[in-house]
Subunit: 211 residues, 4 copies
DNA sequence: CGGTAAGCGAGACGGTACGTCTTGTCTTATT
DNA sequence: AATAAGACAAGACGTACCGTCTCGCTTACCG
């Protein structure tokens, strides 16, 4: 049984234009920083009209969101090694790798939009951030299940971890490199080990040494 | 012989205008959010000309910085009870109290500016953030001295703690209330307790300056 | 094969906006005088953005020039009755009729701009004034051909006649009415008659009585 | 009986400052044209405070008026040789000499102010222009008395002559040199000769006040 | 000769217009 | 129907100039 996709009438959306727009967005962010990411600059660099931009995305923020979905952290796997420490390390190292300088600048541009506009912040939180928070939540959830963390600690940890990421990006505190990933992962993992040793819920789970 | 402070020539700067401007900035942020904080709106609300605004502050961000210094977190004491847990609790609760909704909105407006402009972010980081980071650094430094944390952990903790604060503010993740303060304080303190029990490496190691 | 006029791509310039701008310019000048002719007032009255104004005219003076071309003296015919006296009368009476109060105020606004800016004055002289000077020059040129005036006198007369017009407008010396037109026309014509009687160049041309 | 000039109390007005201001006004006009004549520029160039400027002159136009009175045409004698032609030549040649480039630029700046502001134009007309018009009126009045001109022609001639002067200055039509003076003088004088020959009405008719 | 009142330099101030910039919408002809 | 081109409305930005105000200092008179 062949699934017949109903073809829309008229000229189909140009995939070329879509890619050109997202590429241009990334390139502009990379080369000129958040301020360089202007709708007319994106359009002109992509060889596309502003009309096309606004036909498919309602605002600059939406373009940024899709550009991030394309180039950013979307491919970060959620590891499950049985150890919070190694899970976190792997996850945050992958996160740091995904946050290369161009992507960092996209994040920064997105943060600028969200900080300035509460409605937009809601959207960003409930779509873009929510997915990443859910991933990290699942990872930490396994530690909760093993009794290494309480649910409340896991929730707080999500804020601490992603908070430190955005904080560093927005204010230029420092790079999102392996050192950052390991520092944060170890810190949270030590805590978990401590909790486990203190006999939370599931003492049968042996704590593993961090590194 | 008493050193006579030489009075500057010409009409002295109007303290009234200065206060009116900072008040107007706070009021606009509180009432209309970051987008309401416009230079012309500040000027008109303060009964001041734009020229006066630009005479004393080169950008909106500088006005925000001074308004924050005036109304914001500048009076948060750094407690020293001998216990990291209670020090942190007290410090973060005071921080949460200082971050009332109007102040939160000022912070948000400032974040929007800093995210959009890297040069400005440098200024914000090196003046506004640095003071708060230093306060928290001193607090954590005592725990380092007591062997409850390594210097590296203390540095990471600063990012985690303030990161979570800004993250919640910028993206509207949740309020900066006592629950937040206690959750974060407990989390970091548990870690310290765990580290101390584990006999962490070298307490004599001097704490690295927290950026 | 018919030459097809290539239509420019993109949205065509709005004729509505153009007219609204020129109308608003005239109305503001008429109602509020030269000081009322402000770029933002024109824009707001015309229901147009300032950007549209500056897209098509680089300065207020250019808008005034086009408004004058639209409403001003452009339709003044250059009569040729064979008599300098009646030609001049007809021409200056038509000029006076064209210089109704709203137009006078546009002229005044234009003079203010030109007086303040030498570069602009050059443009005004070489475009707007030049056309009128040429018209009057042709009219007087016929008198020169008839031997009623020397070429030098004709040139001086152009300055005298238009000079008196602008002088009266700018400093509010008096109105540009029929009395003014006749007074100036008769004066120049008497001179021509006198020159002719004195036997300048072409004595065969009989002087005609001034009406 | 000795007229005792009552000396005002307090520090007397600085004549140095007054001269410095008028000099600076002239110099700025000469060097930078009408646009360079700014109140703060005058003050700073004269080494004087704006306070002092506005203490003695209510507006830029008043400063210009006094600067012109100082450097401009104030010393032009009204000749009385018994011949209109030579009187006019002498008067206009002296006028042209007085209108050197720096003075021309002052005139231009004054015209810009007057054109933009009707109230100011009234003042300029009734003070500055009136004196010159009266001088020229007296000169022409003698021709009227001799029956060379009618009173109406004399009045029109004043507009034509001074009109041409301002017209040339404002729009940069051409210089106010001897050629201009002679051209205008000869033109008006020819007319007078013609009228006299034609036996124009009679001298008992009193010359109308020339506005 | 010392008090005092006005003049003065400095420069901050409120007001207002300018010309620029960016966002998001709209209107053409073309594909 | 989607697109490139580009004009458009809205509105904030930062600058410039005007004329006013507020200091502390200076100058010359007058008692």
């Amino acid at each position: 049984m062949i699934e017949q996709v109903r073809r829309a009438r008229g000229r189909p959306r140009s995939e070329t234009a879509r890619r050109a727009i997202l590429d241009a967005t990334l390139a502009l962010a990379a080369e000129q920083g958040p301020k360089g990411v202007r709708m007319d600059a994106i359009a002109s660099r992509a060889g596309v009209s502003k009309e096309t931009l606004y036909r498919w995305w309602r605002s600059k923020a939406e373009v940024l969101l899709e550009a991030l979905a394309q180039y950013g952290e979307q491919t970060i796997p959620v590891p499950d090694t049985g150890s919070l420490a190694s899970d976190l390390r792997a996850f945050l190292r992958a996160t740091a790798r995904a946050a290369d300088p161009p992507t960092e600048r996209l994040l920064r541009a997105l943060a600028a939009e969200a900080a300035a506009d509460a409605d937009l912040a809601d959207v960003v939180r409930d779509t873009f951030l929510a997915r990443r928070r859910a991933d990290l939540g699942r990872l930490l959830g396994r530690a909760v299940a093993r009794g290494e963390l309480t649910a409340g600690q896991a929730a707080t940890a999500v804020d601490l971890i992603y908070g430190s990421l955005w904080y560093r990006v927005i204010f230029g505190i420092g790079p999102l490199d392996e050192r950052w990933a390991d520092g944060v992962a170890d810190m949270i993992a030590s805590l978990a080990r401590a909790s486990a040793e203190a006999g939370v819920d599931h003492p049968e789970e042996a704590p593993r040494p961090v590194q």
